[in-house]
Structure formats: C-alpha cells, structure tokens
C-alpha cells in the first residue's frame, strides 16, 4: 500500500486530461491501474474507429484494392497512438493515402451512393469519436466496454431460452430446465463469448450471423428478463404441487390401485360401487388417464393390469370394485384375459355377532382395504355394498 500511495495522485490527472497521451515512459505507472487498461482500450478502439472512417472515405475503390491498402492500418494507428501521436482528420488522412498510393480521386457522383455497410461503419466511427470527445463520455464508454463480457453471457442465455421455447421444451417453474438444456445453454455461452472475442468466425458470413443474433438478443432481452422475473417471483410451491401431487386415488401419499370390500360377516363383496362425499364416482384413475394404474404385487413379483369389474363391464364405469386383473404376457407384453383380482385376504372375521338383516347402514361393515374412502364416505360405500349383493 505504501508503494502505491503516491500513484492515485497521478491517475486523476491522467484521467482528466482532454486527450490522453500515453507516453511509453508513463505506461509502467498507468498500466498497473484500471484506468491504464481503459487507456489501452481507448487507443485500440480509437484506431479501429479511425480506420473505419478512413475506409468509408475510400469506399469508391475496389474492395480488394481497399483491403490491400488498409491491411494493418489499425495496428499502425494504434502504435501511433501508443507513441503519443494524434491521428487527425480521417478525411484528410484518406485523401493523403489515396494520393500517395497513386489512386484515382473520388468520383463526385459516387459519393452519395454509400452502401449500407459503409454508412453503418461511418455512423460507428462518428459515435466512437463522440464518445472519445470528453472524459465523462470516455468513462461511460469504458464502463460499457468493461461490462461487455456480461452481455456476451446474457445474450447466450436469451438465445438458449428463445430456442428452447421454440422447440417446446417442457417448462419447470416457467423455465426450460433439464440436463440437456443446461448443456445447450453452456455451449451457447461458450460460442457467444468466443464470438464476442472475435474467435470462431472462420467464414465471413458468420459475422453477419453474429450481428443478426446480437440484434435478436437485444430485442428478446426484455421479454426474457420479464419472463424470468415472473418465474422467479412465483411461489415455489407451484413446482412441488404440479410435479409431486398424487394423481388418482391415494392414502397417505401411497397409490391405491384396487379396493376390496367385505360385508359384516367378513365375506368378500364381488361388486361395490363407490362414491365420494360429493356424490362423484370414486375411481383410481388419474385426471387425464383412460385406464387405471397397475397393481404391483410383491408376493408375485409382477404387476397386474386392471380392467372393469365383471359386473361393470357393460356400464363401463370405473368406480365398481374390486377391479378385475390381468397379468402381462411375457411374449407380447400385452395384458391377458382379465380375471377377478386376488384379494390380500379371502375372508375376515365377522364384525359383529349379530350381522342379521336388521343391520343398519351405519353398522354395515364395508371394510375397505387400503383406502380412506370407507372412512370418508361411509354412506356411499355401504349403499354400494348392498347394491353389489
């Protein structure tokens, strides 16, 4: 700290100088500070802008002639600036270059027909010189240059987001998130940063692709930020609800795939119609499924496909239990002919000593297996039990 204590005094002076003259002997001092880096960027940028302005003054020349003439000009200009020199007026510079190279003077008629590319280059040169004019503008410009890599990353995120939306990638919490999409996004970030650094552009037309992509990213950045903001501020419960909420029929989070009902005496009922507390049919079907979920029977080490209860086959209703079951064919993988499902218990001990006809509905022992349906809709279950008999 003691060594550098004297340095800050020199930096403000350098920063407030109207035209930064970077003498070689001052560079060891300035080069170690952030403003020194900015000064170097300034020279490189000024050189590029000046070269572009010169080029636009000579755009009446054939392209290959122009390329030959201006090849290395940017590097020469930058070195000139680093030596503490000034560049002067690009128009006069271009005229001097043209005369010295023995090239014909500009045809006055060709002047107005500036190609779009040249007009853009000229506009950029004007903007660059405008930004270089005052220390305040220069500091704004240098700041923008410093955060440029952040833009390279952001535009890759925007591009990946837009591409994944176009490909209808499934959204999680409003964002396309998957291993594949993360890998795709990372690849795009690498590409974007490399393009930002002027790498990975083996063909000239790729620069046009880069320009178009850049403009598209600028246009899409607001929708992207708005969408991301909306997704991030939405409660996360949406996510768990949509992903993990059990579909169909469940007890304590476990899936119920079949129901076995017994009467008061403990005999299995062959067909029981079940309804919930609102009178809706109680089925094991998921909201948008057309067939009920399979049962996995650990004892048999296989799963069973379910179909209608034999008595509900004609009515084609799913709230009649137990559902019949079929094993999957080992050959075709298709479920075979359905047969009555095997209950976990063939019979139960009687519920009461007196299971006579006077048994009221309240006491009827529809003892549902693996479900809370019995507890919640006693009336429906018992009514169904009587119907089933």
């Amino acid at each position: 700290m003691n060594d550098t204590a004297s340095l800050p005094a020199t930096d403000p002076i350098a920063a407030t100088m109207p035209l930064p003259k970077t003498h070689p002997n001052t560079r060891p001092f300035v080069g170690t500070s952030p403003s020194g880096t900015a000064a170097e960027l300034t020279n490189a940028e000024r050189a590029v802008a000046f070269a572009a302005a010169v080029r636009s003054q000579l755009n009446d020349l054939p392209a290959d002639e122009l390329d030959e003439l201006l090849d290395g000009l940017g590097a020469d200009l930058e070195e000139r600036l680093n030596d503490g020199g000034e560049l002067g007026d690009p128009t006069g510079y271009a005229e001097e270059l043209r005369q010295a190279a023995g090239l014909p003077p500009r045809d006055p008629k060709s002047a107005p027909q500036l190609p779009l590319r040249e007009r853009i280059a000229a506009a950029r040169a004007r903007a660059a010189s405008w930004f270089a004019a005052t220390p305040a503008r220069r500091s704004v410009r240098d700041f923008a240059v410093a955060v440029q890599p952040a833009w390279w990353v952001l535009r890759a995120l925007v591009g990946a987001w837009a591409a994944l939306l176009l490909l209808r990638h499934p959204l999680i919490n409003g964002l396309p998130i998957s291993y594949l999409s993360v890998a795709f996004t990372l690849a795009l970030i690498v590409l974007s940063v490399q393009w930002g650094r002027g790498r990975w552009l083996p063909r000239a037309w790729l620069k046009h692709v880069r320009r178009v992509a850049n403009v598209a990213a600028v246009v899409l950045v607001l929708p992207f930020l708005a969408s991301t903001w909306a997704s991030l501020t939405t409660p996360h419960t949406d996510y768990s609800y949509e992903e993990y909420a059990m579909q169909g029929l469940a007890r304590n989070g476990g899936e119920i795939t079949n129901i076995f009902a017994y009467d008061c005496e403990g005999n299995l009922l062959e067909s029981v119609r079940l309804f919930d507390q609102n009178g809706e049919p109680l089925t094991t079907l998921s909201a948008d499924a057309s067939t009920p979920p399979d049962s996995w029977v650990p004892g048999d080490d296989r799963s069973y496909a379910h179909s209608f209860n034999p008595l509900a086959k004609d009515a084609e209703v799913w709230n009649v239990f137990p559902l019949s079951a079929a094993t999957y064919s080992d050959v075709t993988g298709e479920p075979g002919e359905p047969s009555p499902a095997k209950p976990p218990k063939d019979e139960l001990p009687p519920l009461s000593r007196d299971c006579s006809a006077e048994t009221t509905a309240d006491e009827a022992a529809a003892e549902p297996d693996e479900t809370e349906a019995g507890a919640e809709s006693t009336n429906g279950a018992t009514t169904a039990a009587r119907t089933g008999e």
Partner: protein, 119 residues
Amino acid sequence: MDGTQLLKGVLDAAVLAVVDREDGYGYDVVRRLRDAGLDEVGDASVYGTLRRLYAAGALSTYVVPSEGGPHRKYYSITPMGNDLLAEQRNSWQRFSETLTALIEPQQPAQAAQPEGASA
C-alpha cells in the same frame, strides 16, 4: 518553403532507402523516416507510397505474427526496387548538385561581376 512539398518528390527514394536498410512494417518505416530527420512526413503518405511501390513491384511483403497483437505486414525491397533506388539515387545526386549550384548565395558572384565588368 514547406518541407512536405519538397518531400513529395523524393518520398519514394526515402522509403526505398529505409526498407533497403532493413525490412519494416508501415509504422516502423514512418518511425525510421522521422528518426532520420524527416519530421514532417505524413503517416498516410508513407503507407500510400509503400502500397504503390508494392503494386509497382519494387517491394514485396510477408506477414509476421506478433505476440499479443495483430499480424504485421513487412515490406522488403525487390531487385526491381534496388534498380529503382539506384536510379533515384543518381537522379537525386544530379538534381541536388544542380540545385545546390543554382541556389548558391550570389554574393561571391555579384562581387566578381563588377570586377569582371571593370576589367
């Protein structure tokens, strides 16, 4: 009289001579001309001259990669350039002798004339 006006006619010779001594890239040639005392030489004039001499076959180019910067296009003199330089050296010599004699201060001559006239 402005030095740049004088320089225009002999810039080809100056550039050829500099490149003849040692190959160089654009700004390098400018710097060496300045170091030699041609302070008023314009960068663009030198680059244009290099390009024209190259197009005329007096110079050839090759690219040298530089560390941490863009590639540099170096110029070197060709046999045709050497011939051109020799020719321009001769004509400059004749021209400078002629001009030196022409613009020599006239005091001695004026002093001699009256003597001759009186004699």
